[in-house]
């Protein structure tokens, strides 16, 4: 029985006077991969970043509407708490360059000032590096800085870093767009494995990627949620004409 873990209600987002998202209503299913898809500039990243309140780092961004994590209104929670339950992975891999690989995995704890015993730390590092398939590759180099890792490995490290906080949801903003095809394939497989552990919300402009890995798809166009449904339905028999045109490559 699937349950809904995140509900977005009547979300409107403005950059200054300019409205970017119009009345978005979305329900995200627990422990499934939901892809947010659409042409460039349609508001996908804006929607994603609203969910972990990243917009509050910048002035001039106004967010209206409600977002519920399970049944709690995330705007009534301290932003730091929201972000510890909803992790994020960015487009360009960004492991902290002045921290070792080991420290990068537990960076969330370090940066929040949460003290852990050595055994706890070791366990978290090993468990999460194994989850992303990096353990064997880096277990002898844990205390080196991560700069020698390839782009794909760095991105997996970032995923481990987000996972280490045991979030309910992980948001990924075009996580493979700067990676080569092999690294991309590895990460796609990884995400499919990870959904048993955590709900995944991924923004992608790559239709193939959305179709390969997602269970549900939200199609955004010009800031409007045009269509939402199970992937098998959206990619075979979309209901909306605009969705149909986007999928046939009429515009990108």
């Amino acid at each position: 029985m699937e349950s809904i873990i995140l509900t977005v209600e009547n979300l409107n987002v403005f950059y200054g006077e300019h409205q970017v998202l119009f009345n978005i209503n979305l329900k995200v299913h627990e422990k499934k991969i939901t892809a947010i898809m659409g042409p460039s500039g349609c508001g996908k990243s804006t929607l994603l970043r609203s969910i972990n309140r990243m917009h509050e780092l910048y002035k001039d961004v106004k967010v209206e509407g409600r977002i519920y994590l399970k049944s709690e209104d995330i705007f009534q929670m301290p932003p730091e708490e929201v972000r510890s339950k909803i992790g994020m992975v960015f487009q360009r891999p960004n492991p902290f360059p002045h921290m070792s690989i080991y420290d990068n995995v537990i960076a969330g704890y370090i940066l929040r000032g949460i003290k852990l015993k050595k055994e706890e730390r070791d366990e978290i590092v090993e468990k999460n590096l194994k989850s992303v398939g990096l353990w064997e590759e880096v277990k002898d180099k844990l205390f080196k800085k991560g700069t020698f890792l390839s782009g794909g490995q760095q991105q997996r490290l970032c995923i481990a870093r987000a996972l280490a906080m045991n979030p309910d949801i992980i948001l990924l903003d075009e996580p493979t767009s700067s990676l080569d095809p092999q690294a991309t394939a590895k990460i796609e497989e990884l995400l499919v494995d990870l959904k048993e552990r955590v709900t995944i919300l991924i923004v992608t402009h790559n239709i193939g990627q959305a179709s390969r890995i997602s269970d549900y798809v939200a199609f955004l166009y010009n800031g409007v949620l045009v269509e939402f449904g199970p992937s098998t339905k959206i990619f075979t028999t979309p209901e909306n004409k605009v969705t149909e045109e986007f999928l046939s490559g009429k515009f990108g």
Partner: protein, 274 residues
């Protein structure tokens, strides 16, 4: 046609000449310093304190004085300037931030002697006398612009990715700044600190009104203290040959100190980055 060719050659020759002209003073200074100062370099210089003419004296108290005063100046200036730099970099649109940035630049333009006189008024007089601390305060004021700018610029060069990554993990502004931003910007900040240090190590005018000078070895910062620039000033303008010698020696030592600090800082930054 021929005139154009000649003009070209003359111009090129001119550029080269003037370049040499600008390098020349540096070489002249270094050579002069070495020539006159080398003779003065002996153990006495660094082991003995100042003594009246006739007795064999040295510059020990001034060397110690310079080191103490500049170190304390750095300790005073660093937290203030670094944090101000952080504020300017992270909140560039706030009014106070803009005022800070402008003020910082204006301080850089204030003549050092004016700073000396003002600190005399606000520190020396209320404290009842000259002191090394007052000297440090004056020098600290002079350090502020460099360090604020270096800090702010280093921080602004950090890609926003890292800030966002830290915040997305649930870190608040303070922790992000202390554990991600500042460590990242540290090489730049240190460079700024050390170039400031090099500058103030040789400042004479402010010290004239604040730490004043002291013929004895003094470690109490609330009392007047000597410093190498002061020593050089006093001895070089005296009529005694021996004292002139000591002044040359002290000059050489001053340059060596600045040099050493510069090299160590550069190596230190390199190691840090690795």
């Amino acid at each position: 046609m021929k005139t154009r060719k000649y003009m070209d050659k003359i111009f090129k020759a001119g550029i080269i000449t003037f370049s040499i002209l600008t390098i020349a003073p540096l070489f002249i200074i270094l050579i002069t310093l070495l020539k006159w100062g080398i003779n003065a370099l002996n153990l006495d210089l660094i082991t003995k304190i100042q003594r009246p003419v006739g007795e064999r004296g040295g510059a020990l108290n001034s060397i110690v004085g310079t080191l103490i005063i500049t170190t304390i100046a750095t300790i005073i200036a660093s937290p203030i300037s670094i944090l101000a730099g952080v504020y300017v970099a992270e909140f560039p649109d706030k009014l106070i931030s803009k005022i800070t940035a402008v003020s910082s630049r204006l301080i850089a333009g204030i003549p050092s002697i004016v700073i000396g006189i003002v600190v005399y008024l606000w520190c020396v007089k209320p404290m009842g006398g000259y002191s090394a601390l007052a000297g440090s305060i004056a020098l600290a004021i002079m350090m502020i612009p460099n360090v604020v700018t270096a800090t702010a610029e280093s921080i602004m060069m950090i890609p926003k990715d890292y800030r966002e990554a830290s915040r997305s993990l649930g870190a608040n502004f303070t922790r992000t700044t202390l554990k991600v931003i500042i460590p990242f910007a540290l090489p730049g900040i240190l460079t700024g600190l050390l170039s400031s240090f090099s500058r103030i190590a040789g400042e004479t005018a402010p010290l004239l009104f604040t730490s004043f000078g002291n013929p004895f070895l003094n470690l109490n910062i609330l009392k007047p203290m000597s410093a190498l620039p002061l020593l050089i000033y006093n001895y070089a303008t005296s009529p005694y040959r021996e004292w002139h010698q000591i002044a040359w020696g002290a000059s050489l030592i001053l340059i060596l100190i600045v040099f050493l600090v510069s090299i160590i800082s550069r190596l230190g930054v390199k190691k840090w980055k690795a």
